[in-house]
Amino acid sequence: MSEATRPAVKKRAPSTLGRVARYVAVRMVVLFVTVVVGVYLTILIANMGGHVDKIRKAEIRVGIATFVALDPQVRQMPPEARNELISDLIAVEEHRLGLDQPFLVRSVGFLQNALTLNLGRADQLTSDSGSKLVRNIILERLPPTLLLMATSNLLLFFVSLFFGLSLARHYGSWLDRVVIALSPTSAGPAWFYGLILIVIFAGMLGVLPWGGMVSAPPPDNKLTYALSLAEHLVLPIGAWMMSAIFQTAFGWRTFFLIFSMEDYVEMARAKGLSKQAVERGYILRPTLPNIITRFALMLIGLWAGAILLETVFNWPGLGRLFYQAIGLYDTPVIVGNTVIYAYLLALTVFLLDFIYALVDPRVRVGS
């Protein structure tokens, strides 16, 4: 991005199309290599550099030995024959799971599958509908995460944006000072405020649920279902807002104030333009690229889910899935989640360059 945001140097470009095409190609290659390296690193870490294979081999050995020992026919076989049978079965099972190949070879296969979004089957986890396909597991957990994270993030984004704008308009008011004083409270993460809110509203007052997504058993009626969902959303969204609203609003406020002190704004005011016109054309317009960047980065953040917030509120989303997968050494699920995140991030970074050029005439793609 930094290449794009640097002020354009006055230089005669050979042709706009050629320049943009070259830039797009270079950018795509760089981003793709980034994704490949990132995903491969995740594969290495999630497999403990091949150590998880050893764990799996030991599990197979124990499983087959137990299975064989329970078979009355096998029990009558001489020991050599029995051992041979066991090692044959182990070899078959290891071959079936591809464990007979060295880890380095396997890891390249994993990488290839991950990059082509061929996410494969989970080792341990299953979706609630019983599928072992990673895609189904992730798709099943996606809606709750989107519901929680999209609602809270969008709410936070727009509320803090407009709140910050209004603070900048009423710079120095008592509300402005209160927000400044409260902005250090954003040092606490959302899960922390979540716990406090649970103590107050679920524990002491008993007016809101402790956690979960709907009440048990889930209501049949669509309307009551939605109401129950909304009731369960109040505390996690509240926690998300509490943990960030003051600092973000303060950030926007300061940001707008800095932009409103530019000379060209003074100039516009001196020209006698209306307050609204100054604000729309001279303060908000140049801040648009930043607003868009933050919005895009927030959208990527949605996918990563909030592992801790979902844990604290028992929310059946992607964050908790990720955590469960790590606890079960379920590498396909971990890698699947990571690769999707990496692609989304790369795509957003890529698109941002062009959106920048669209909204900010000072920026020229690839110059």
Partner: protein, 447 residues
């Protein structure tokens, strides 16, 4: 030096910064107190200790100060030892071998509630024949209640509530309630006054002894209360302070210093070094931070210091490197750098003596504001069950409280005490960092 003093004078003009500095000093004081009064190894021993360390404290007892908000007076733990002055011990020789040992434990009970449980711990010495003890209980209104009779091993524990025959004799009411209840009252009310626990023992060998200790576990304990393993939470609250502070400080310091140096070298040498640093930063952005920490915690090591190293390693190539890079790129073109190059200063000298100092104004607020993030990160990992296995930390107390259902059982103190400390630590550094940001960042000072 004078610039430092000037910044300090500016800093103390912000009331929030002054409050923050005082809170930080208070936390440092607590941390020093914890390290001096409870050495590291002792803290680990206490926190990992079981019945042998915490045998005399109640389970999940509230702190004593919670009494301030209620009109009733909940019982504290009463420990009766045969070595106490109030206890009487008479030994009477009956025959050559056998002795009668009579232990009397009088005590005043002046509380409104009932004890959590009552347990009598015996210690005996003998060669082959075990001593025998029968216990009874005298209430202030003169009733005498027979408790159990047991043969005493070298270390014997008699839990009254687990003696089924006793509970049956008390019509199914648990002993800790039945023994102290006023029989006249309709609802269970404790009868105040002087009680007596009598232990009538017989030893059957020359040189055989019998001693006892009775514990009436209270409902409140100490300034911090206890957790489900009877551990005094004070140990964790005290020791959590130096751990949180050092973790936060080391992580923030390590991250920002290394990031700054890398950015400086990248800018100074430029070319492929700069390019490599930028690419590594982009790869690092793709890696999911918290999941990788969880993986390291699950797969490799849960030691807090190992996690600290990974945190620093993952944070070095963060977003901050781009900020620093942008500043260094400007500074690099400054005339005084050119002058330095002209007089033949080495690369190292230029980076460390001329480039790096220029970024200190940006670095210090970032560093201080970064501390709360790392303090809370430790708690976050503990909340996921990845806390350090041996050290008592605030996060682990919160995790224990959550997993043991403290909230459902209204044991709010258990979660709120470490939470308040976390918040205080977070707020203190955030307030100071916030003020520093406004001082060192002139664009912010005006607004």
């Amino acid at each position: 030096m004078s610039t430092l003093r000037a910044s300090w004078r500016q800093l103390v003009r912000y009331p929030s910064a002054v409050v923050g500095i005082m809170l930080i000093l208070a936390l440092v004081g607590i941390a020093l107190y914890a390290i001096i009064t409870i050495p590291y190894s002792e803290a680990i021993r206490l926190w990992r200790g079981g019945e042998e360390v915490w045998g005399e404290s109640p389970r999940t007892a509230q702190p004593v100060w919670t009494q301030l908000f209620s009109s009733t007076k909940k019982p504290e733990t009463i420990v009766l030892r045969s070595s106490d002055e109030t206890a009487q011990k008479t030994v009477e020789q009956v025959s050559d071998d056998s002795k009668l040992v009579l232990l009397t434990f009088p005590f005043d009970y002046d509380y409104d509630g009932f004890p959590q449980e009552i347990t009598i711990f015996f210690t005996a010495t003998y060669q082959e024949k075990m001593p025998f003890a029968s216990m009874s209980w005298k209430t202030p209104d003169g009733r005498e209640i027979r408790l159990g009779q047991i043969a005493v091993h070298r270390a014997e524990t008699y839990r009254l509530a687990l003696d089924e025959r006793l509970v049956r004799r008390l019509q199914g009411v648990l002993p800790q309630q039945a023994l102290l209840a006023d029989p006249a009252a309709a609802t269970p009310t404790a009868l105040k006054g002087t009680y007596q626990l009598l232990i009538d023992g017989t030893t059957f060998e020359a040189g055989s002894t019998l001693d006892a200790k009775a514990v009436l576990y209270g409902q409140v304990h100490g300034l911090a209360g206890t957790d489900y393993q009877r551990r005094d939470l004070m140990v964790a609250l005290l020791w959590g302070t130096p751990i949180a502070l050092s973790f936060g400080l080391l992580a923030a310091l390590g991250t920002s210093l290394v990031t700054m140096l890398i950015a400086a070298f990248g800018v100074w040498f430029g070319g492929w070094i700069d390019e490599l640093i930028q690419r590594v930063t982009e790869v690092n952005m793709v890696l999911p931070f918290l999941p990788i920490l969880i993986m390291v915690g699950t797969f490799y090591s849960r030691s807090i210091w190992a996690i600290l190293m990974v945190v620093i390693a993952l944070s070095i190539f963060g977003a901050a490197i781009k900020t620093y890079r942008a500043i260094f790129l400007q500074v690099k073109e400054a005339p005084y750098i050119e002058a330095a190059r002209a007089y033949g200063a080495s690369d190292w000298r230029i980076v460390v003596r001329y480039l790096v100092p220029r970024i200190i104004p940006v670095l210090i607020p970032t560093l201080i504001s970064g501390i709360p993030t790392f303090v809370f990160l430790e708690a976050s990992l503990a909340l996921l069950g990845l806390g350090d296995p041996v050290l008592p930390t605030w996060g682990k107390v919160i995790d224990d409280a959550r997993s043991q259902g403290a909230l459902f059982n209204q044991q709010y103190y258990w979660m709120l005490e470490p939470a308040v400390l976390l918040m205080v630590a977070g707020l203190a550094f955030a307030m100071v960092g916030f003020a520093l940001d406004r001082i060192f960042n002139p664009r912010l000072r005006e607004v």
